[in-house]
């Protein structure tokens, strides 16, 4: 019955690169690099994001991420975690490019604690400088459709609004704005940050997003490898549900539909 089998999801493309997995995962907050490697493998992710100011990528006398998460197998996406100014973020990614040749990057510039919320003014400034400098910028941003559109028009290759602040595990608090951002975007939209568990990731995908980026949800689970498995399935579930077109909601149930003769 070939017509009964849905076409396999062909994945998504960012900056000319195609990925089958719609899950992008972080590499930090794990117990050790072995756990990092096992969880990432279990997640099925093909792209991993790396905090270049926090992870050892170059000192071969100490354990290096590359020994556990091979760069020939995973697309490395260097990020600017820990940067609180545009200048810092730009400098960090230039150093990363010099060291590893990475051109596709994740920009995040956060405001001051305690809320790990993006500083959108600094983010716009850094995005402009990085794009001018030839980087392909995937950008972490507020769930603000006006700023998201500006980042896209500036040349960012992916827009990555938060579901909730980094590390909060609150889920997708404002699904309306994620939908608004997706509705107007011509580049991929990823929910980045806030995902706490599998149903959050599925919901993000049901909103029509191209992919989900998460870290703490896996790394801070009691069993990170198992949660990685959960997230792998959650993202597929959400994508397939989006493509399938969900039933209508109606709390009066089948009040108005004919039921006679129907099988339930």
């Amino acid at each position: 019955m070939p017509d009964g089998i849905p076409q396999a999801d062909e994945g998504w493309t960012v900056a000319g690169r195609r990925f089958r997995s719609r899950l992008v995962v972080g590499t930090g907050r794990y117990k050790d690099l072995e756990e990092t490697a096992r969880a990432i493998e279990a997640s099925g992710a093909e792209m991993v994001t790396v905090a270049v100011r926090r992870v050892n990528l170059s000192d071969s006398s100490a354990p290096m991420l590359q020994d556990y998460v091979p760069p020939d197998r995973y697309t490395y996406l260097p990020n600017t975690a820990g940067c609180h100014t545009a200048q810092d973020a730009v400098r960090t990614l230039r150093l990363a490019r010099e060291a590893g040749g990475w051109n596709l990057v994740k920009l995040e510039v956060l405001g001051p604690p305690p809320f790990l919320y993006p500083d959108m003014r600094a983010t716009l400034e850094a995005a402009e400088a990085l794009i001018k400098d030839g980087f392909e910028v995937m950008v972490y941003c507020a769930d603000d459709p006006v700023a998201a559109k500006r980042l896209e028009e500036m040349g960012c290759v992916a827009i990555m609004p938060l579901g909730a602040p980094i590390g909060s595990g609150m889920g997708v608090v404002n699904p309306y704005m994620i939908k608004a951002i997706k509705a107007q975007a011509k580049v991929p939209v990823l929910v980045d940050a806030g995902i706490g568990t599998a149903s959050d990731a599925a919901l993000a995908m049901e909103l029509g997003c191209d992919a989900v980026l998460l870290n703490s949800a896996i790394a801070h689970a009691s069993d990170p490898v198992r949660m990685a498995v959960a997230m792998k399935h959650a993202v597929i579930a959400g994508r397939e549900a989006f493509l399938a077109g969900r039933m209508n909601r109606d709390y009066r149930a089948d009040a108005s539909s004919p039921t006679a003769g129907l099988i339930r």
Copy 2:
């Protein structure tokens, strides 16, 4: 790294029968029996519920469900859809047992339209009669922990509270009561009814339920086979997330956690 691979979920057991799939699906509301068959196969379900008053199970001069959904491959769970009194429900299942030998059954007795909500008084009455009569009763019920406990003590083999009324697609409206029912139950608990999309099914499983039963979410999707695939993954995702133990929620994000030197 064998210790890094989570033990495969071993599935769940009801009335002495083991199932690997934690998804139970209905057989009605589809365009035709071919679509029914394709969607059920795609869902990975091993148990299917059948409205014995609405589906042709015995007239071999017309298309029969068994020709499309083979009973030697799927566990048939006859249900009492369309019954509005205890007497009707009991009679319906007795006839089904005589016809097909089915002993494991799903009891549902609904109140009057428009709300396809269980009539709990009639449900309790019917459950009592059916159990006395030797049936193994999986019971659709309100999200009422007192009635759920009573049904269990009476001998029901599975408790199946609604997430929302049948056919409403509203999701799990009251997760607290589903958790309450699960917390006190010694028999399997399934969310039955209300599931509208993949994230709803994942959430039901994250609450600790043993399985999910749904029909309209698949049959009324624009592409039922694709939604069946979504649900298959959603239930796995939710179960694995439950077993993995989710991170804590904290909207202040990492305010209080040390960040110096951490990889993010």
Copy 3:
């Protein structure tokens, strides 16, 4: 501009008695009877519910509720808090009637801890016995539209579904079922239990309910008298909003409406 002033809300009627205030409050859980009195006065309530098994209504050698909350000013509504069987509930209210002449009563029969959830089977049984015995029964019940209708048909004078379990402060968890219960009812519907703060009470009224019954939300606030003031206004706010007819929700905001020349 007399046509500009909305008609004052005329209140609601139960068992032939008219009340202007749509707030009914409990009399327990306070620090002492003085605080009870002050909070009730501040709430503007005209009807108070009294746990006859827990409060001193007859031993004049000890502080009596009547000395603080005068029965000639407030309608006393004896309730069956602490009763876990129909027999207990019926006996309790008979004793109350003998002692105080109270005929209008609140029936609640709870299941076992930890969930202070109504035992609907026992509630139905007790309601039947009490009505036969001439009581006017306002009944605490699950948010179950089938049971609610049955209680009304049996002769209960008010249907009082929970917003959430007693003492939980979770608010109105399932607004759909409260609306469903109200939509079909010909007697007053009150949300009873679950209210945690003012917006919960306003929401309950916006669903179309006739009144709200609460206790812990006031008694367990840091400043009970102040919360009583809050609740007084919340119930008016919610009722007026219901009568006013709210604007439509549309997350795309004014996308489709003409804006040229409009004052905003």
Copy 4:
């Protein structure tokens, strides 16, 4: 019992002006100026915001707002509705100041339709120019705690994050970020936009906000004057509930508390 009566709420202060009412209302979207006047009076508001580009404030040959909403009784807060650039907003408010002497203003600069969402870059730019020019700026902004802090540090006299986009009636979609903005602010915080009904306004106040600004919720209700009454009470209810300190939420209800001997 004077100690039993809570201190009356003393209101809030912005730019040195004290207001007892914590409700600020718009003057547009009504059927006519008579309805505008009646609704505003019913709301109890003391401050009204006026779209200077849309309402007639100067042509005395046509009906003028001032004839219906007397400026000696209400504080006029000119706003920049309809402005989509910083330049436009600044020019509009300069003209308003010349015409009416208004120095306390509401700045809003929106992005393009269909989402009437603030353009935060333009808002920051306009705020800077206006403050330099001597205006006292109350600023409509995204629910972005980093931008909100920047606006405060720049000298804005009140921070007014959206609950949801203008005219959407979606309520306070992200209460976490409103709380975050309030937690760090030393100037008044008002929820501005998104309020759809009374419980939304109460919730905004329960989050600790100083006041609420709304327009469509009243003007687009079926009975605007009645909804104005609702909002008046809702804001008081929410404020009093905030000051009272709400009970804890616990879905297990009184599971762990001693109940023996307690009055309920």
